[in-house]
């Protein structure tokens, strides 16, 4: 390959982060520019030009965006397409009833997510397949023909077909698509068995509908973006980051836009996984805190934990998604814990005169009080400023923080509660940290792990301000701040592989199947998946089966080695690990077959430097507030800390777009990769 640049672009809600690897100098560089919400590609191109990269020298460009999520947040300029849904007769309301659960127990004015397809756009056709795949009622083609005529007449852009048990026997969905397509050749027809051939009708239908909902917007966006790039001379390869942490080429990205709804945080988890490998950390929590939310991924043996179901637009409680608060999507998502806490989260005093933090955020505009853009409600960032943890300049001097405004805002809370300004500011930080730490702990425990066994990697604009104290709350003794921690997520874009995930329901007892039958399912899935990783020299294939005890509703995903007995043994062991019990005498059921096909990319190497221990000289000193009160604290410049630097807290390390706080009793050390490792 001709030398040039590898570029990762992460378009967030506020900033567009670009990280590129210069193949000539073997160095990484970062650029941060404002996001242009109405035309996110404009901001991306601005980033490339700001970085002074020549377009024709970009060999690979990998992209992450919140565009899909923004559609669900109801942004005005994003218009959904006109979609029709065709279901089995009697079941058009499955998509609306959902799981019949209200997301909030006590709120009499609660709302469920609005159905993405109005009832008038949902059609039913007589057909029925049973749970074994047998045809109970043949597809009523005459009825379907009439529906096709309506679809043509009403100018639908997309049609979704979702019949019961189509994961078992898709013959009716296939025939229905054929009939629709014959009469409405310009309509995009999407079937549920193709998008998500797994059982549970609501989730399968929802996944398919969300793909349909996003497809025209995402297709147009990607096409326009690539056209703009090509007009400027780009002729390299273009990939999109998926929520699974793998990248996908443009063709399949447009087919399954729901697969990259959470692509930004996924990239962050990939970066963590990469560093955990080169640093030999087997259990890592990756913690990313930005302006509005904090997110955490779990990396075990250098691989992030992945969940196969997510709710777009959902709300969180105690770190986890509230079931029924969003729209289910069944694709692999890196399993993220989420808390509504970020730099812009607002602190307030409730009617009982107690201090509260969140969940409302000032976001980035108007942002914290100290930004001076008109907000008068104090935020976590304001508290950090008052405590001296944040200096008065941010993001390389682009932003000046107004301490006087922050102090005025927090003193209002202090008067109400009857404590000093710094006590309230510290209280804001303590409450935020307690909430985040407890939520992250719960999520880790929920997945069967003990947080004390982990190292915590901390990044994001606000993460390193809180990371060490958070880790202490979680009884984690080792914290690592990677290089360029403010834009670390974007780095993950350059460290990812191409990834395709395929799944198919089995729903049979382990006694009812033989190994050949299972192998045939995998062969089918692999053949399908290999089409999507064309052009990669090295391919890795991972085969897994979702297994559960019969009568249970939870599955564990177990590697498939080709041996059913081994599968059973490994299932019992894992069940014991995660759920604290196993039942050797219980019948086992195989639920889904899963294949992950990975096309391996040659990755840029993180440079390794010689380590010479030395004691760095602080740039300056200032008072910073910790649990021990005000402490004279050394201030360091991250760019000047070389591998081998070793120093003790209290300390603050400042860099381009993030600030690292190291409390008393901790020691910090810069390793050969430029990572800051902080331990007690």
């Amino acid at each position: 390959m001709v030398m040039g640049y590898r570029v990762g672009i992460d378009i967030g809600g506020t900033f567009t982060d670009l990280v590129y690897f210069d193949e000539y100098s073997k160095e990484f560089h970062v650029v941060k520019v404002p996001t242009t919400p109405k035309s996110p590609d404009v901001g991306a191109i601005n980033a490339i030009e700001t970085a002074k990269i020549e377009f024709d020298k970009i060999n690979i460009l990998i992209h992450a965006t919140t565009l899909g999520t923004n559609m669900f947040l109801g942004q005005e300029h994003l218009n959904p397409p006109k979609i029709a849904l065709i279901t089995t007769k009697g079941f058009k309301d499955v998509i609306e009833i959902g799981r019949q659960r209200r997301p909030k127990l006590y709120d009499l004015f609660f709302e469920k997510p609005k159905p993405l397809i109005k009832r008038r756009d949902r059609y039913e056709v007589e057909e029925r397949i049973d749970a074994n795949g047998n045809i109970i009622t043949p597809l009523n083609e005459e009825e379907l023909q009439k529906i096709a005529e309506i679809i043509k007449k009403k100018d639908y852009e997309v049609v979704v077909i979702s019949f019961l048990h189509s994961y078992k026997n898709p013959i009716h969905e296939k025939k229905a698509r054929e009939i629709i397509k014959n009469l409405c050749s310009n309509v995009d027809v999407i079937t549920s068995y193709e998008i998500n051939p797994e059982y549970k009708e609501y989730e399968r239908t929802s996944t398919t509908v969300i793909n349909a909902y996003l497809k025209p917007l995402v297709s147009n966006y990607l096409k326009n973006f690539i056209d703009s790039l090509k007009n400027k001379g780009f002729n390299g390869k273009f990939y999109v980051m998926q929520s699974s942490g793998g990248i996908s080429n443009i063709k399949y990205a447009t087919e399954r836009p729901a697969a990259f709804i959470e692509s930004g945080p996924a990239a962050g988890a990939i970066a963590v996984a990469y560093f955990s490998k080169i640093l030999n950390d087997n259990k890592v929590i990756g913690f990313d805190m930005g302006g509005t939310t904090a997110k955490a991924s779990t990396i075990i043996n250098n691989s992030p934990l992945v969940t196969n179901e997510y709710e777009v637009g959902g709300e969180v409680h105690a770190g986890r998604l509230i079931k029924g608060s969003g729209y289910p999507v069944r694709f692999p998502f890196i399993d993220l814990a989420e808390v509504s806490a970020g730099g812009g989260t607002i602190a307030w005093v409730d009617e009982g005169n107690a201090l509260r933090v969140g969940p409302i955020s000032a976001g980035a505009d108007p942002g914290p009080v100290c930004y001076g853009k008109g907000n008068d409600k104090p935020t976590i960032t304001d508290a950090n400023l008052i405590l001296g943890r944040l200096g008065e300049k941010l993001s390389g001097g682009l932003l000046k923080l107004r301490k006087d405004l922050a102090e005025k805002a927090i003193s209002k809370l202090a008067e109400k509660i009857g404590e000093s300004v710094e006590e309230i500011a510290y209280g804001i930080i303590r409450l935020a940290n307690t909430t985040m730490a407890k939520a992250l702990r719960i999520v880790t425990v929920e997945r069967g792990y003990d947080p004390r066994d982990f190292v915590m990697y901390v990044f994001g604009g606000a993460g390193p301000l809180h990371g060490v104290e958070l880790a202490e709350e979680m009884e984690i003794s080792s914290i690592l701040i990677p290089p360029s921690c403010g834009v670390f997520s974007a780095l993950g874009l350059l460290l990812a592989d191409c990834r395709v995930d395929k799944a198919k329901s089995i729903l049979k007892d382990i006694d009812e199947v033989d190994e050949e039958e299972i192998e045939n399912i995998f062969i089918e899935l692999i053949e399908e998946g290999l089409k999507e990783v064309e052009g990669f020299e090295e391919i890795k294939i991972v085969k897994q089966i979702d297994v559960r005890y019969k009568g249970q509703s939870y599955e564990l995903t177990i590697p498939w080695t080709g041996d059913l007995k081994e599968l059973a043994d490994n299932f019992h062991k894992k069940h014991e690990t995660v759920y604290k019990f196993s039942s050797l005498e219980e019948d086992i059921e195989l639920v889904n077959a899963r294949v992950t096909i990975i096309g391996l990319l040659t990755k840029p190497e993180i440079k390794c430097y010689e380590v010479k221990e030395y004691k760095p000289k602080p740039e300056s000193y200032r008072k910073v507030y910790f649990s021990s009160g005000w402490e004279e604290t050394a201030i360091y410049n991250r760019d000047k800390l070389k591998p081998g630097a070793i120093f003790e807290g209290p300390a603050v390390v400042e860099e381009y777009d993030s600030t690292i706080v190291i409390p008393p009793d901790y020691t910090a050390f810069v390793d050969k990769y430029g990572c800051l490792r902080i331990e007690r």
């Binding site: 009833i97 209200r102 909030k104 709302e111 109005k118 107690a354 303590r430 409450l431 929920e446 729903l507």
Partner: protein, 563 residues
């Protein structure tokens, strides 16, 4: 101790209850817990006062507090010494506070050889014996018919499982595997709760932790008082449950005055020889839920609010029965009606905050055959609200369990679901209409027994502020071609091929339907949520079909609405 540390300890305690819930769910065996989340976990003081609770089902809310206190009192009275690493098990509804299926486990938190608190959890077990599969039937007359009664007993003694008691329990239930698995999960949950509390004490000190707990109760008490400080009212209402040919009245008078709330159920129907009785714990839970929902959804739920509440429920009434009156349906249906009657009364004082009646039933469907048992509840319409329609097809009031996916049912049971849809026109007409009920139709693929426990079949969910009532529930069995109506509480045998049709109630409407925005009516007609006929009759809007679309005949509508 400073105020921030109090908040940190409060928050940490809440998260410990949450973590107990995670462990319980993770390690539980049965779908009731894992999927439907029918359990709660709590942390209580040494007096058995509720400090923090992670709840998923509101009916567990107040009952946990009462149940633990009753249990602690029982142990003292019976001179049962509770030791470190003991676990108490109880499901007697007259002690534990809900119904026999809900088994409560309790473990003391010992610190320096002294009990400083308790951790507890309550989980719905799929079967505890008794007359019917699932232990819930409308055809029983005594508590003893409903299942095995477990008074407070030591399930774990000094850290070791009491095998004799466990064997006694599993010998009396239909699915012993589930029972054992779920009990072990409950024990694991308690163990983590104790461990985490001790860690909290290690960090902040035991005196500080108990002081923070007491302050959190004071805080809740003051918070609730501040919310009702300016209120001075007496409101009354009566609402009804249905049983056979009778209407069972629940009378309620609420008095809010001088920072106190008195809820008096005097006049409520005497207790029945039928399982509609709600033990006092259920009455407290329902009352707490209703008040929290109306006064402030963010009201912290701990013992502090019970200091402000005085709940008078005369003995031997259906809201405070005497043993051995049966209670299984009280937990699921009477609780709904208690909430409804409180909302109905509070409407007079808080007309902007209280919605019209929701569907008011858990719509329980229990189907069992040889070697299998299926149980689910079905949502319905939510009441119309001030400024918003009611939500279609959700659970309301005291329940919030997930439905069972059709493809799961059909993979695991000899049942075929023929329909699952919203009921057109079932939402009560109003400026803000009630939510629609659900239709769910089952075809039996083998012989079996059906129990249905539902309500609001005779008396419809009421509208408010000139809103109309929501549609009543209508339930049928179609056998040999004949459509047979079912009463709300029925048990019968079905043959292979029989069909069961459940139509759940809609919510009541809020405000006059004549004031409903015409565009909203047109939208609902297009979506077939309101029919053309209803638009004309109930809303005085003439809508006609024209070229495959619906349009408003504005001229005729103006006449109808007198504009």
């Amino acid at each position: 101790m400073d105020k921030i540390t109090v908040e940190v300890i409060k928050s940490s305690t809440s998260y410990i209850a949450e973590e107990m819930g995670i462990i319980l769910r993770n390690t539980a065996y049965s779908p009731n817990i894992k999927d439907r989340l029918d359990f709660s976990c709590a942390i209580l003081s040494s007096n058995g006062e509720l400090i923090a609770q992670a709840e998923h089902i509101p009916v567990h809310l107040g009952s946990m507090a009462i149940g633990v206190k009753n249990t602690v009192d029982y142990l003292k009275k019976e001179s049962i010494e509770i030791e470190k690493d003991d676990v108490i098990i109880v499901n007697d509804p007259y002690i534990a506070g809900t119904h026999l299926n809900d088994i409560t486990l309790l473990k003391p938190i010992f610190y320096n050889d002294e009990i400083i608190g308790y951790v507890a959890n309550k989980a719905h077990h799929v079967d505890v014996g008794g007359y019917a599969p699932g232990s819930i039937s409308s055809n029983v007359k005594e508590l003893y018919h409903e299942g095995l009664i477990i008074p407070p007993s030591k399930l774990v003694i000094n850290g070791k499982l009491n095998k004799e008691l466990l064997n006694l329990i599993t010998s009396n239930v239909r699915v012993p595997k589930s029972t054992i698995g779920d009990l072990k999960a409950q024990i694991a949950s308690l163990n983590i709760g104790v461990e985490r509390i001790l860690k909290l004490i290690e960090k902040y000190g035991d005196r500080e932790v108990t002081e923070a707990w007491n302050k959190s109760l004071d805080y809740s008490e003051e918070y609730l008082k501040s919310k009702i400080r300016d209120i001075n009212c007496i409101c009354e209402a009566v609402d009804y449950l249905e049983y056979k040919d009778k209407l069972i009245n629940i009378n309620m008078k609420i008095e809010i005055k001088n920072g106190k709330i008195k809820v008096d159920f005097t006049g409520t129907h005497r207790q029945l020889d039928a399982p509609l009785n709600a033990v006092y714990g259920v009455t407290v839970a329902s009352t707490s839920f209703a008040l929290k929902a109306v006064i402030d959804p963010d009201l912290p739920m701990n013992h502090g609010i019970f200091r402000v509440l005085n709940i008078i429920a005369p003995e031997e009434t259906i809201v405070n029965p005497k043993k051995p009156a049966p209670v299984s349906v009280g937990n699921v249906e009477t609780s709904q009606r208690i909430v409804d009657v409180i909302f109905k009364a509070l409407y007079h004082e808080f007309p902007d905050r209280v919605p019209a009646a929701s569907n008011g039933s858990m719509n329980n469907v229990i189907i069992g055959g040889r070697g299998w048992a299926f149980y689910e509840t079905i949502g319905g319409g939510f009441g119309g609200r001030n400024g918003k329609d009611g939500v279609d097809g959700v659970h309301a009031n005291m329940t919030n369990t997930l439905n069972t996916p059709i493809e799961v049912i059909e993979n695991e049971y000899p049942i075929m679901i023929l329909e699952y849809s919203l009921r057109e026109d079932s939402g009560g007409a109003g400026k803000y209409r009630g939510g629609l009920g659900i239709r769910r139709v089952y075809k039996m693929l083998s012989d079996c027994m059906l129990s249905i426990i539902a309500d609001r079949i005779k008396i419809s969910p009421w509208g408010v502020n000139n809103g109309y009532s929501g549609a009543c529930g209508e339930h049928y069995v179609i056998k040999d071609g004949k459509k047979i109506p079912l009463s709300g509480k029925d048990t019968l045998y079905l043959s292979c091929g029989d069909i069961v049709e459940i139509n759940t109630p809609g919510g009541g409407g809020y405000g006059s339907p004549y004031e409903r925005d015409i565009n909203l009516i047109l939208e609902d007609v297009k979506d077939e949520k309101i029919s053309i006929k209803s638009a004309y009759r109930d809303y005085k809007v003439k809508i006609i079909k024209k070229d495959d679309d619906f349009v408003v005949d504005m001229e005729e509508t103006k006449k109808l609405r007198g504009l």
